[in-house]
Structure formats: structure tokens, C-alpha cells
Assembly symmetry: C2
Homo-oligomer: 304 residues x 2
């Protein structure tokens, strides 16, 4: 599980700046690489971050505005160039089908990679795998938008001290896991005797949106939440008009939802530095706070 | 005419590197801004180069491979965002119409700018204006490709010494230009008495191609030639196979065509530095030689 981290490729909103590329985030999660909202230039930002595009196993697009998807052609073409033949799933709001088709075949290339389009047209689980569950929720933006979260199921883990106490060791551990119980002399040792329940990890990704039910549903109990904070509260009218959050709103969500590590991003170019965002968020959120920077790496917090 | 210069946004070929973005070049030419082959990330490279996208008046795409056009959506959407309402012409090989349509509407945006598509389906002049003539020639690449050149017509310029000698000054100069001749006492002064012919400037842009007639036609007499030199001669077999030039071939063209300033670019990532390209080119070309770097500015040579 040590391999779970977020790698940030870009943190600008509509307009890139000298120090902020358009959006782009890779969540490394065991054998999966979830690429969220690759904006223009993500291919090169991956290079600068030292991440191979071949690490991408799934692409999750929140909506079809350019700063959240114009990097798709470059990634897909690069996967083909790098001879990735395994399937790569691509999730996006179903109403964006036509746009995704254009991005998928935006220019001439030798098409090798099996890109499997999975348009999202309902809320809830959209993929299940060894990684857990990928879920989508509707957001509130001028165009159809969805947010995502990755939820690992709660499970049981062996507690070394209990294994020792009950005298279970070596191959017996596997046998106990398979059978559910084993005999130790006259005694029956059950799984529940030597395990304790473990809460699954949760990652949530919330982009362009006003406050809405989907935001809270996604952020609920997230160990790591990446959320847009395009504006400051002093520009709350702009945020409302264009369908965005302020730093204070985003941090308030994190507090109400019990988020442990909060990553604010997607900053408007109107702010010369992030002090305002930091102060607004800090005022209402006590947990780990990260103001995202391009090429940063953010680890999943240690398990509770 | 002092405003004529080339601004380089990217110099990589298919794959970007740490120091080389995908293609992209702006030719500033009086009131025109010709944007050639904007690859992915050109929008941000323009920012880093200190050039506003609003400087773009025409886009010239040589072919529809991604490294030559995936920056088109970002540029078009940025022009609309910046409220550019004047027309922007877009030239590309006519067989790429379908791809250009996808790039044109690759994602959702508020479409303001009047992008006028001018698919190129014949060789020769494709636009005429105060800047001169924009011409296209067919190139030899695995997909349809064209190169471009900008040709200023030869013309006459006033020679200050002759104006003095014939006693023409102030508003009379304009009158002479309008009328073709004026009376000075008993004498008739004709335009030809006080002007000398001046050769128009020429800029040529030659991308992905094997050696072919079009390359020579474009480079002929160019004051400034931007030409791909993807490979070295030691990899001439790869160049031939993939439809590219070597540095030696590109420089040989420049010599045979009387090019004054030669800009080599579109380098394969396989070469860790440009020494090989420099040495190959220098061995056959005596003029100004530039190995293009991202964000460089290259002036048109002074008039002959």
C-alpha cells in the first residue's frame, strides 16, 4: 500500500501561468494509475515529474472543458507510441461522447492501445477491481460534470500479536485465511480471533462545481481529497456565477466530511500567490492542508 | 520591417523532452503573426516566450500528425477567451479536413473567434495581402504534408541621396509616389530617377519530409529557412523510412538554394545534444546557422 500517492502535473484553471500548467493528476494506487483531468501539456508534465505515461491504467475526466481534457489526445497517442496494448478505461460524462470521440482521434497516429470508453450516465459505482470501487457523482457546473472517488473496501488484517498468542504461524496463516478456522490441538482458532477490522482507504477528486450533494458524497470520509478552489471568498460572486468553489467552501467541506489530507488546486490566475487560499482554508480546516504545486507528490495518509 | 522575427516555442519531434516542447513557431511579419505547426503545449510556451496568442493572425499546419497540430485547440480556445473577433485563417492539407474539424471543436468552449479554414489542395499562392504572398508546396511524408513560404514582392525604395540630388523633399515625395513623376522647374523627375529596386524578403518553413521538389521550391532564395533535421546522416535509413531529413540534407538544401539564415529544428530525442547536427550542417553550409532552442528568437537577416 506504500505505493499510493498523488502526482500533480498541473494546478491552473482556465489559463496556464508561468508556474502552473493546466490540470492533470495521477493517482498511483497499487497496480492502478488513475489519470484525472489531463489538460493540455500533461504528456510533457509527466516527463518533468518523472512518470511514464505507461503508468496510466484509467482516465477519469470530470467534464469536457479544455483545461480538463485537452491533454487526452497526447496521452492516448503516447500510450500507442509506447506500445501499451492492455486496455485503458476512459470515464467521462456521457453527454460528452462526441467530444471524447474527437479527442480520441484528434490527429493521425498509429492506434495501438485499447482505449475502452466508459461514459458515465449514472451515479454510484462505475468500476470494481482489486483496487476497490471507482464511484462517480454528479457535480454542479455549467456543463455536465462528475466527480470521482476510489474506495477500498473495509477489511480484516492479521494482528501479529494475536497470531503469536494463538500460536498460528507460517503456512497456517494462509490456511486459516482460506478455511476461516483451523484446529490448534483441542482448540479452534477462528479468523476473528487473530484479525481486527481495517478501514479501507478513500481518495476523492472534486473539480469544477458549486457546492452540491455530490461534493459531500464524494468527500465523505476521504483520507485524501483533491478539490478545486478556483476563487477566494472575496470573489464568491464569481465562483457562484461560473460554477466554482472558494477556498473557504472547499475547506469547510473537508471539515464537515472528516477529510484527513486536503489538496486545494485549480487556482485562478488572478491570484498572484496562494496566501489567501491558505488562510481561508486554515481558518476552517484542522487537518493536513496542501496548496497544490505543479510536479508535487502527495502521499496517501497512513492508515488509521 | 524591424518587426520581422521568428519566435520558437518548441523544437522536439514526436516525443517532447525535458528541454524541448513539441513544435511551434510564430513568424512576426509586420502586422501578421503566422503560427506554424502548434504542437501540444504551444499555448503555455507562448506565455513563457512572452508572446500573446492574440498576435496570431494565421495558422499554417504542415500535416496532421499530433506533434504538428495538437496545440490547435488550445490556441483557438484561447483566442476566443481573449475575445479576438477578427478572422484568423487556418491552412492545412485538404485531406486533413476531418481532423481539423475535431481540433477546431475538441472540447466545450464559448466560440468567439472567426476561424476561417483554408484547406490547401493545390500548390502555389494560397493568400495574398499587404505582407506579400503565402505559398504552399507539397512535401513527401507518409501522410499528406505541405510546406509554406512567405514572399514579399520585389519593389522599389526611395534612395535619400537621389532625392537630395533631384531636389525632392517633404510632401513632394508622396506626390511623386502617387503620380509617378513631378515637375521640378523645367525638369521632370520620375520615380525611377530616385528609387532603386529592392528584393523582397522570403521566409520558408519546411517540416516533415524526405528530399523532394517542394523542399527546393520553398527554400529557393530564402532569407530565413526553418527546416526539420530530425536525424543525423548516420541514421539516414531511419530518416528515409519515416519520411524525414538529416541535418546534412537540410543544410545541403540551404546551400543549393542560397539560404542566408538556416534554422534546424524538430530534433529526435535520440540525440542527447546537437553537436552532431551542428557539425553536419556546418560542413556543407556557410551562412548563419541556428540550432533551434525552445523560446529562442531569430531575426530575419537585414535586407540585402
Amino acid at each position: 500500500m506504500s505505493g499510493r500517492e498523488l502526482i500533480v502535473f498541473g494546478t491552473a484553471s482556465q489559463v496556464p501561468t508561468r508556474h502552473r500548467n493546466h490540470n492533470g493528476y495521477l493517482l498511483r494506487w497499487d497496480d492502478e494509475g488513475f489519470l484525472f483531468d489531463p489538460g493540455e501539456g500533461t504528456q510533457r508534465q509527466m516527463l518533468l515529474a518523472g512518470v511514464s505515461p505507461t503508468a496510466v491504467t484509467r482516465m477519469c475526466i470530470t467534464h469536457l472543458h479544455g483545461d480538463h481534457c485537452l491533454g487526452v489526445p497526447g496521452i492516448i497517442q503516447r500510450l500507442s507510441l509506447d506500445r501499451v496494448v492492455r486496455p485503458v478505461q476512459a470515464y467521462y460524462p456521457a453527454s460528452g461522447r462526441e467530444y471524447f470521440a474527437r479527442l480520441r482521434h484528434a490527429s493521425v497516429f498509429h492506434d495501438v492501445t485499447d482505449v475502452r470508453e466508459m461514459p458515465v450516465d449514472a451515479e454510484g459505482a462505475i468500476a470494481v477491481g482489486p483496487f476497490g470501487t471507482l464511484e462517480a457523482r454528479r457535480l454542479d457546473h455549467p456543463v455536465d460534470a462528475v466527480g470521482y472517488r476510489v474506495v477500498e473496501p473495509d477489511g480484516d488484517r492479521f494482528v501479529p500479536e494475536l497470531l503469536t498468542q494463538f500460536g498460528v504461524a507460517g503456512p497456517e496463516v494462509g490456511e486459516l485465511q482460506r478455511a476461516g478456522s483451523i484446529r490448534r490441538g483441542t482448540q479452534t482458532v477462528r479468523l476473528s480471533d487473530v484479525t481486527r477490522s481495517r478501514r479501507g482507504q478513500r481518495f476523492a477528486f472534486v473539480m469544477d462545481t458549486r457546492l452540491c450533494d455530490g461534493v459531500y458524497a464524494l468527500a465523505d470520509g476521504a483520507d485524501l481529497l483533491v478539490i478545486e478552489a478556483t476563487f477566494l471568498d472575496s470573489d464568491a460572486d464569481l465562483a457562484a456565477r461560473y460554477g466554482h468553489l472558494t477556498a473557504r467552501q472547499a475547506a469547510q467541506v473537508a471539515t464537515e466530511c472528516g477529510v484527513r489530507r486536503l489538496v486545494l488546486t485549480h487556482f485562478s490566475q488572478r491570484y498572484p500567490d496562494m496566501r489567501g487560499h491558505h488562510d481561508e482554508a486554515r481558518a476552517v480546516f484542522d487537518g493536513d492542508l496542501v496548496l497544490a504545486e505543479d510536479l508535487a507528490r502527495v502521499k496517501m495518509p497512513p492508515r488509521r
